[in-house]
Each structure stands twice: as structure tokens, then as C-alpha cells.
Amino acid sequence: MDFPTFLQTVANSVVLGSIYATVAVGLALAFGVMQMANFAHGELFMGGAYVVYVLYALGGVPFPLAVVAAFPIIALLGMLTERFIFRPTRGNVLAGFMATAGLALILQVLVGQTWGVGLMRSIPTPYMAIAEFGPVRLGWQRLIIIPAAFIMMGGLWLFLHKTKWGKGLRACAQDPEAAAINGIGNNKMASLSMLIAGGFAGVSGALMAPILAVTPYMGHGIIVTAFVVVIVGGMASIEGAVLAAFLLGFIHTFTTTLFDAVVSTMVGVAFMALVLVVKPTGLLGRVKQ
């Protein structure tokens, strides 16, 4: 690989890592706070993409507005998932997980029947310009993902460390019994984490809508990677998820450039297997007592 190609691949990796990070933190947060294992997380991503499809491609709403709108809409979807699926199955991680597998099917059918099932590249690219940094060329569409992701991560960090609710979430993840004494209440904690999970996954999907093929099944493509990122990062660790997301972004992008996308998924899984064998708790995970 020559140097310009190397730089280009690095740039692409950062973009991909940013998306992986915003998708995976929600998954890690929901699991860490309340042991909610969301199989339909890919469908939340898909939902965000469809928000852009409906608002921007069909409705003419400006792209940035459509992306921002994805947050509350999919956040609401996340909260509904918590209320109607995770709350009745609380205490049984398997039940919640499999139930969201059922939810995934439902969402796929609903979206497919409403807006059609075929390949949908009909989202016009809002930002056609291409930025150039020396030998590296990045379409603006991809470029904006980086600051968007960092703003969201930064916002999340501030929320988790500087606000009462955020600290409550962190306390809940460390020790649910102590957090319950704090008085914020498990239901609110669960609802809040799924709100964040939904919002983040939705915005990720929204940002990717002009780049990926928008279909009801696009969740399949992202969910395996999201799972791999969470395991490599360390199950409930948010910092771990971010680190693993960028790591995997690099692994996937370089492998795709050298081989193809199928091989890159396989290499990602193989990397996960390696991590499991060498450090089963993940890069930044800790064994809970």
C-alpha cells in the first residue's frame, strides 16, 4: 500500500470509526445500566436512516434538520422499547434480548410495507462537494460525520459526568443497589439509557442515509459490528466501546481496501475471538463482583 492510499484509508477509518462509536455506545450504555440487551439496535439505526428518507428525500426538509429530527424520534422508539419490552422482562437478559429480536422483525415489516422493500438509493446526496487534504479526498457527506460524532460523544461525556441524571446512570452501571438508594429509580434510569441509545443509533443511521443503501434490512449490516465492538470494548464499558469502535473502524477499512467487505467482517470477528481468548473481559471491561 503506498503512502497516499494509506492516508486515505486512515481518513476513511476515522469516519467509519465515528459511526461505529455512536452506534455502539448506546448498546453498551443500555446493557451496562440495566442489562438491556437490544437485538433491535440495528433497526434503530435503520429507523434513523428512514427519518432522513421520509423528511429529506420525500419531504424536502433540509438535511441537517432531518438528521437532528432523527434523535428525538428514534429516542422515543428506544423508550417505547424499554417500556414495553425491557421492563416486563427485567431480570431476564435472555428474554429481553430475544424479545427485541421479535421487535426487529416487526420493525422490518412495518417499514418495508410502508415505504417499500427494494433497494433505495434514492436519497440525493445533500453535500456533493469533496474536501481535499493533500492526497486525501473525502466527500463532505462523509467528512461531516467526524465532527458530528465527536460532538455527540462529547455531549454524552458531559452528560454522564456533569449532570445529576448522567451520574445516576453511571452509578447504576456500577452498582444498581446503591443507585436505587440514590432515589432516581430504576425505571427512569432504564428509560433514559434507552432514550440515549435510540437517539444515538438514530442519528448514526440518519448521517449514513445518503451513503448506504437504505432498506428495511440495513440493520443487519451494522448489528454484527455493533456486537463485536461491544464485546471487544468490554460489555458495559462506554469508553471501551469508543476505543473498540475506532479500532474496528481501522481494521474494517484497511481490510476492505486490501480485500473486500466480506473479508473485513470476518477479520473483525476473528479479532473479537482473539480478544476473548486473551482478555475475556474486553479491552476496558472489568469483572463485576
Binding site: M98, A101, G102, L105, M235, M266, V269, L276, P280
Partner: protein, 315 residues
């Protein structure tokens, strides 16, 4: 009483192809294969390991026998055990890193590993046929019997599946293995403290379950005549989970109930077309929230108890 029930069921099973219209015999073949798949999956669930790569292991068996038949000219009678062994070997390879995980980690790691194997079939057109898969898988041959037709194939499947189910039943009933596996699920720390090497049993369940999934895969491959990676993807896996959740996994017979009910629902809901997955998703959610023990939890306890030993009260 039990013996009577068994005789009735056996008689029905043998007479079945003559009791139903031609089209349905095909469904019965698939029903038997699914029964074996669900029963083999239940073995894993007894230790609490709900793997999401089980259907992929079925695919390993299917591809193994297809390759053996097409590339090596192996007859079905060799391909079948090969399929089981191939799946068991892949299962053994997967289980080593998988044992480092539990619960949520186990589910998603098993899903990822399953995808890894499946993507090998997608990527390597030679020899797996890539996304289009493999076609022209030969039918079994035995003397002058033409297994191309549904009815002879049904009897072939019936014999093989019955034998496999019997083995699975014996393992479940075995006090010193079946009980230990259930004990691991009930209280893993306690099991460890009495000397149970938990990972050994988890691996045993995973690999044995994988073996039988492979057998089911071989039966499928030779019936359909063609297989591709989509036959073994996550959607099919979720359906397997639905059968097992709907039926229940507490007793050996739970999955039977699940496969029967869901096969009926599957066939009768055809008019729903693309809305079907929504129905199944709804069924899964309903059962997990309102009837997590599955349909077998509705049966009177006496029916589901083990009953043969005088000192045992509950199953």
C-alpha cells in the same frame, strides 16, 4: 399409559404420508428436520447457553454433505455422518472462545461467530458456491427406492430423526449428565463447588447439539437439492428460537410442542405474505413476556414429570 401414547404416535408417524395429501408430505419432511434441529438446540439451552450460531452449524452439515457428494462422489450414507462430524468439529472450534463468555456476551459472540462461518460460504464461490450456493445435490440411493419422491424420503428422514431423538432423549434422562447440565443452569456457583467442571459440560452440550444440527442439515440438503447461505442466516435462527420459546425448554418434549404449533401457524398464515415475520415477531414477544415457560408450562405437572423413579416428584 405412556407406552400407549408412544404406540399411537409411532403409528401415526408411520401412516402419515397416506393420511395427508401429497403436498403435505413435503411439509412433514421439513417438520421432522425442524424437530431434530429444535431438540438439538434444547440440549444447549439446558446449560443456559442460548447460542445464536446453531442454525449455522446446521449449514455446516449441509455444506459438508453437499461437497462430499458433488466433489468426492460420496453417497448419502457416508455424507450423513460426515455432516454430523463436520458440524461437531466446527462447534468445537467455536466453543473454545465462546466459553469465555456468558449471558449477553455469549449470545452476541455466538451470533458473530456464526456470521463468520456463514460469510465463508458467501465469500468463497469455490467451493461453496458463494451467495448463490450449491445446487444439484444428489438424492440418496438405496437399491431401487427413488428418494426423489417425498414419501420415501419421509420414511428415510423418520428413521434417522427418530434415532437421533432417541439419543438426545437418553442424554437428557441420564441422571449423571442431563441432571448435571440442568444443575449448571440452576446454580452455577453451587455446581462448581461440588466439583462440576462447568465448561466441560457447556462444551459437551454445544458440540453434541452441533452434531445433531449437522445431521439435520444433511437431511435438508439432500431434500432441497440446493442450499445457499440464506438458508442458514439470522432470520432462520430467530425462527428456531421462536419454536423453542413457544414450546418451552424445561422438558424434552417442549420443543416438539413448539415445532408442531409453529409449523401449523407457518403454513396457515401463508396468505399474510410479507406480514408474516411481523406475526412471528409478535408471537415471540408475547411468549417471552406472558408465557416464558412456553406452551408446556400450561400442561398439568403430572404430564411433564419424569415419573419413572418412585422418589422423583417433579421433572
Amino acid at each position: 399409559m405412556r407406552i400407549l401414547l408412544l404406540i399411537v404416535v409411532a403409528a401415526l408417524a408411520v401412516a402419515a404420508p397416506y393420511l395427508v395429501p401429497e403436498y403435505y408430505v413435503e411439509i412433514l419432511v421439513l417438520f421432522l428436520i425442524n424437530l431434530l434441529l429444535a431438540s438439538s438446540y434444547r440440549l444447549l439451552t439446558t446449560t443456559g447457553d442460548w447460542s445464536l450460531s446453531h442454525v449455522v452449524l446446521m449449514g455446516v452439515g449441509a455444506y459438508a454433505t453437499a461437497l462430499a457428494a458433488k466433489l468426492l462422489g460420496w453417497p448419502f450414507w457416508l455424507g450423513l455422518p460426515l455432516a454430523g462430524v463436520a458440524s461437531a468439529v466446527i462447534a468445537a472450534a467455536l466453543v473454545y472462545p465462546l466459553l469465555r463468555t456468558k449471558g449477553f456476551g455469549f449470545f452476541i459472540a455466538s451470533f458473530a461467530f456464526g456470521e463468520f462461518v456463514r460469510l465463508i460460504w458467501v465469500k468463497f464461490t469455490n467451493p461453496f458456491g458463494g451467495p448463490r450456493g450449491m445446487i444439484n445435490i444428489p438424492t440418496p440411493e438405496l437399491g431401487s427406492i427413488d428418494f426423489f419422491f417425498a414419501t420415501p424420503y419421509y420414511y428415510l428422514t423418520l428413521v434417522i430423526v427418530a434415532l437421533c431423538l432417541w439419543i438426545l432423549y437418553r442424554i437428557d434422562r441420564a441422571a449423571l449428565i442431563g441432571d448435571v447440565m440442568k444443575a449448571i443452569y440452576m446454580d452455577e456457583d453451587l455446581a462448581r463447588s461440588i466439583g462440576v467442571k462447568v465448561n466441560h459440560y457447556r462444551a459437551m452440550a454445544f458440540i453434541t447439539g452441533g452434531f445433531f444440527a449437522g445431521i439435520a442439515g444433511a437431511l435438508l440438503a439432500h431434500r432441497l437439492g440446493a442450499i445457499d447461505p440464506k438458508n442458514f442466516d439470522i432470520n432462520v435462527m430467530v425462527y428456531l428460537v421462536i419454536w423453542v420459546v413457544v414450546g418451552g425448554t424445561k422438558t424434552f418434549w417442549g420443543p416438539f410442542l413448539g415445532v408442531i404449533v409453529m409449523t401449523i401457524i407457518f403454513e396457515t398464515s401463508r396468505p399474510l405474505l410479507e406480514w408474516r415475520p411481523l406475526l412471528f415477531g409478535g408471537i415471540l414477544i408475547f411468549f417471552l413476556i406472558f408465557m416464558p415457560g412456553g406452551l408446556e408450562s400450561l400442561l398439568p405437572k403430572r404430564w411433564t414429570s419424569r415419573g419413572s423413579s418412585a422418589t422423583e416428584v417433579t421433572g
